[in-house]
């Protein structure tokens, strides 16, 4: 009986492959019999499972050498595969992602549905893998310490830093495997959805040329930068003379506000006026096949009706556009909506820069004496998009960024597990991850409500000056608030940001995530932060007495 029960475990891998093979046969049969959806879904799920099995075997082989670090890493991978909580989260992942397309309203435009699926699939994958990483990292290290397994492991010739590094390596490789499998599943679903019927030809075009693409964004610059800078300087000087009180408390913030307001004004085309926006360094010179788009989100101002139509005329590098029967057409578009124009090849191919002149042709609204102005939101309200590649490469870059973020979470979990007991370690890691997710919001919020200089040193100088001023005026609470700002500034400076790259939003809107960004972020999030967190964890762990409950 003993031998028979052992054979059961020995035969498990072979049985798994046999089941996978049978599932493929069933899927093929279902497709042949006309049950295409069922067959495709079964084949997809089986492919994901088979990829997982193959990837797992590959990782185990990769970690197969006689080394302490890889030995620990391999044990973590084995632990991860067999942990129940891992299984629950994986089922959640496999369940959540494919279910979503079924919930989307087929009457909705296909481009929106595809964008939503991309955002949802990668957002859910990131969130679930983030939780999985936290539980795995903290649970693995704390579990070893609390159960006493660490005594057996560290009584072997293994340095404590090697143990921590091995744990991190195992989790990072396991994350890579899950990302590849989940990413493969998400990509397949996106392609399946995108292959479905679109609402109309414009919808199909939007899917193919605005969503499932990679386009580099080029922001506008002033036609005459020196003039622009001089205008801002003059405005600041004028205000300093007229209203010196505005600069008394926080000159840096006042200057920033003026610059921001001037920028907004520059993005505004007043009635009967023309403004030229220069889009430099398109990278299309000499390329007649370059796909270049102009994306605008115009808004009307000084009118009560926000959703009024916007009328304007365009010139591209001095040529009127678009033309119909030799005459220039004026565009009439709904306000507060995003519009994309495919630009003709000629003006773009002849020069590496595009000069877009916009003339306001708004009509005078009823009851008004003057036509409304047109404003493009600074940032993404007016930009040129140059196609650089396909969706697939962009998708992979997005996954690499996600992997880097998970590597940081893994390092935080391992370090926290080496320092705290299980609940505290999970809490600490969750706080860090939530902080990294919300850091942009915190920065904006504190930037709005607090002192902000342009640089870190500028902020320190501003705070010091303001705190000293408050003390002189015996406003002790205000002085305390300024000093407290040092702490928040320092924490925000330390805190990583998971959202500053806007990777998923870029992917879903067909904006290129450049490799340079990916590698920089990977070096920061996947290497520098994990090294710092690991070093902190090791400093405590190396001095810690490894007895149960010692933390």
């Amino acid at each position: 009986m003993a031998r028979r029960s052992d054979r059961r475990y020995r035969g498990w891998p072979a049985l798994s492959w046999a089941v996978a093979g049978a599932a493929f046969l069933v899927a093929a049969g279902a497709i042949w019999l006309g049950f295409t959806s069922f067959g495709t879904a079964l084949a997809g799920a089986t492919s994901m499972a088979a990829c997982f099995g193959l990837g797992l075997a590959l990782i185990r082989r990769l970690l197969g050498g006689p080394s302490g670090i890889t030995g620990v890493a391999r044990a973590v991978v084995d632990e991860a595969v067999r942990m129940r909580s891992t299984l629950v989260l994986l089922i959640l992942l496999v369940g959540l992602v494919p279910v979503l397309p079924l919930l989307l309203d087929p009457a909705e435009r296909l481009a929106y549905r595809v964008q939503f699926l991309i955002s949802w699939a990668l957002g859910a994958t990131g969130l679930i893998l983030g939780f999985l990483t936290i539980f795995l990292a903290c649970g693995s290290v704390c579990g070893d310490i609390d159960s006493g397994r660490i005594h057996m492991t560290l009584s072997k010739p293994l340095q404590r830093w090697e143990y921590l590094l091995g744990k991190w390596l195992g989790i990072v490789l396991y994350n890579l495997l899950l990302l590849v499998v989940a990413g493969g599943g998400a990509y397949t679903l996106v392609r399946m959805l995108a292959a479905g019927p679109a609402i109309d030809a414009a919808d199909r075009d939007a899917v193919d040329r605005q969503v499932l693409v990679a386009r580099r964004e080029v922001a506008p610059e002033p036609d005459n930068p020196q003039e622009y800078a001089a205008a801002i300087a003059a405005a600041i000087a004028r205000l300093e003379t007229d209203s010196p009180e505005l600069f008394a408390t926080n000159p840096a913030a006042t200057r920033r506000r003026i610059e921001s307001e001037y920028r907004r004004q520059w993005h505004t085309v007043t009635p009967d006026m023309e403004t030229t926006f220069v889009f430099p360094r398109l990278g299309t010179q000499g390329r007649a096949d370059a796909e270049v788009q102009l994306e605008v989100e115009p808004r009307v101002t000084n009118v009560d009706v926000d959703l009024a139509d916007v009328r304007f005329a365009l010139w591209l590098n001095g040529r009127p556009w678009p033309l119909k029967n030799g005459a220039q057409l004026e565009e009439t578009l709904p306000s507060r909506a995003r519009h994309v124009f495919d630009l003709p090849a000629e003006p773009v191919a002849e020069s590496d820069e595009l000069r877009v002149r916009v003339a306001n042709r708004n009509l005078v609204p009823p009851g008004e004496t003057r036509a409304t102005a047109i404003t493009f939101a600074p940032g993404d309200g007016l930009r040129v998009l140059v196609r650089t590649g396909g969706f697939e490469a962009n998708f992979i870059r997005c996954l690499v960024l996600l992997w880097g973020k998970l590597a940081l979470v893994a390092a935080a979990g391992v370090a926290a597990g080496a320092v705290f007991d299980l609940p505290s370690a999970i809490l600490a890691t969750l706080v860090l991850a939530a902080g990294a997710l919300g850091s942009e919001f915190f920065r904006d919020a504190l930037g709005t409500y607090n002192v902000v200089g342009e640089s870190a040193w500028g902020r320190v100088a501003d705070r010091m000056m303001l705190a000293a001023g408050s003390l002189r005026e015996q406003q002790y609470y205000e002085a305390f608030r300024m000093l407290l700002g040092f702490v928040t500034d320092f924490v925000l400076w330390l805190l990583p940001s998971f959202t500053s790259d806007a990777a998923i939003r870029r992917l879903a809107t067909g904006i290129t995530i450049p490799w340079s960004d990916v590698l920089t972020r990977l070096a920061l999030l996947g290497v520098a932060y994990p090294c710092a967190l690991g070093a902190l964890g090791w400093l405590v762990f190396d001095r810690r007495d490894l007895v149960r409950g010692s933390s």
Partner: protein
């Protein structure tokens, strides 16, 4: 093939069994502190310990007497608050020391999701043992502890005694020079306990140094060369087992069963010499012997079990003075334990002549 020791580890060869010191502690103390860094428990206090090469040394004491803390300090898992420790001539945290140390903790702290074979493989990797040698050793060790038939089952499904066997096997995977066994027979059935006793005796004969920590005093009587009894974090008695157990003033003569007249005659003879009172009794068999006999009989009848089977022989790679098999080539034959006392004294903070620094 014999691996050459690194130059940094080349130390003086040992003159012979028992002449060198594998473990030396001088005045070690350990206080555990609470979250606020206040001293909470004083687990070990000014403990001096010396274990020689090839000795089987028992550390005894009631629960909470500081045995396990002492062991954890020897393994570098816990740092002493005061005092110095040298294990195999080096500091306990030194990775080079740990290459030659095997450790079985008081409870089987194993990964429940790994099989017995994977568990041994994991620990073998930590010793950087090449895969071919590792596989061979795992086979031999599983056979030795009687788990070769269930090697692919997850350890979490094992009984406590079977887990102890896995723990014992992992402690031997590196062919250790110093073996630290904390309650090795806890949770074991009498068959397993007997096998472990035999194994310890065998390892002792092969020149291994064994530090045994147990509450099974009969095991200690049977196996150990020297014994230390701890209480309150200190060693209260220490010495050779035979010396400690010798009962002065009593002589026992053992003969085949005697008839009553013969017994009376002997009583009379002893009375004439003024010796008395004399106690005559028929010896009883030990329950352990009867148990082992029943199990052996069942096995001989071919009855099946899902648990551990009878253990096999001690593998050749666990070398002492004897020649090892091909697997023996992995671990350097002479670990750095073979040190001169001056080096140990320098590590534990004493002059070579024995006076404190």
């Amino acid at each position: 093939m014999e691996l050459t020791k690194p130059a940094s580890e080349a130390l003086e060869p040992s003159p012979g069994r028992g002449g060198e010191i594998d473990v030396k502690c001088v005045g070690i103390s350990k206080s555990f502190r609470d979250f606020w860094m206040r001293p909470r428990v004083r687990a070990v206090e000014s403990l001096d310990l010396e274990i020689r090469r090839g000795e089987i040394y028992a550390l005894l004491g009631p629960n909470g007497s500081g045995k396990s803390t002492t062991i954890k300090m020897l393994l570098g898992l816990v740092a002493p608050t005061a005092g110095r420790i040298a294990v195999l001539g080096r500091r306990p945290r030194d990775v080079a020391t740990k290459r030659y140390v095997g450790y079985l903790p008081e409870e089987s702290y194993l990964y429940r999701f790994l099989s017995a074979r994977e568990t041994l493989d994991f620990y073998g990797r930590l010793f950087k043992i090449p895969s071919r040698v590792r596989r061979e050793r795992i086979d031999r060790l599983l056979e030795m502890v009687g788990l070769d038939a269930v090697g692919h089952r997850p350890v979490g499904e094992f009984s406590k005694g079977m887990q102890r066997r896995v723990g014992l096997a992992q402690s031997l995977i590196n062919d250790p020079q110093l073996l630290i066994l904390d309650e090795p027979t806890s949770g074991m059935d009498p068959v397993g306990a007997r096998q472990i006793r035999d194994l310890i005796a065998d390892l002792g004969r092969r020149g291994k140094t064994v530090l045994l920590c147990t509450h099974q005093l009969s095991d200690v009587e049977d196996l150990c060369d020297r014994v230390a009894i701890m209480f309150g974090g200190r060693i209260r008695a220490e010495g050779r087992c035979a010396d400690l157990l010798r009962e002065e003033g009593v002589t026992t003569i053992q003969t085949p069963a005697l008839a009553a007249p013969v017994t009376d005659e002997i009583r009379d003879l002893l009375a004439r010499h003024g010796i008395g009172p004399v106690q005559v009794e028929r010896p009883r068999r030990r329950l352990e012997e009867v148990f082992l006999e029943v199990v052996e009989r069942a096995r001989a009848e071919g009855l099946q079990t899902s648990g551990a089977k009878a253990g096999g022989p001690v593998p050749d790679f666990l070398r002492g003075d004897e020649s090892g098999g091909p697997a023996a080539a992995v671990t350097p034959r002479a670990p750095p334990a073979t040190v001169d006392t001056a080096l140990i004294d320098s590590l534990v903070g004493r002059q070579a002549d024995g006076t404190p620094e």
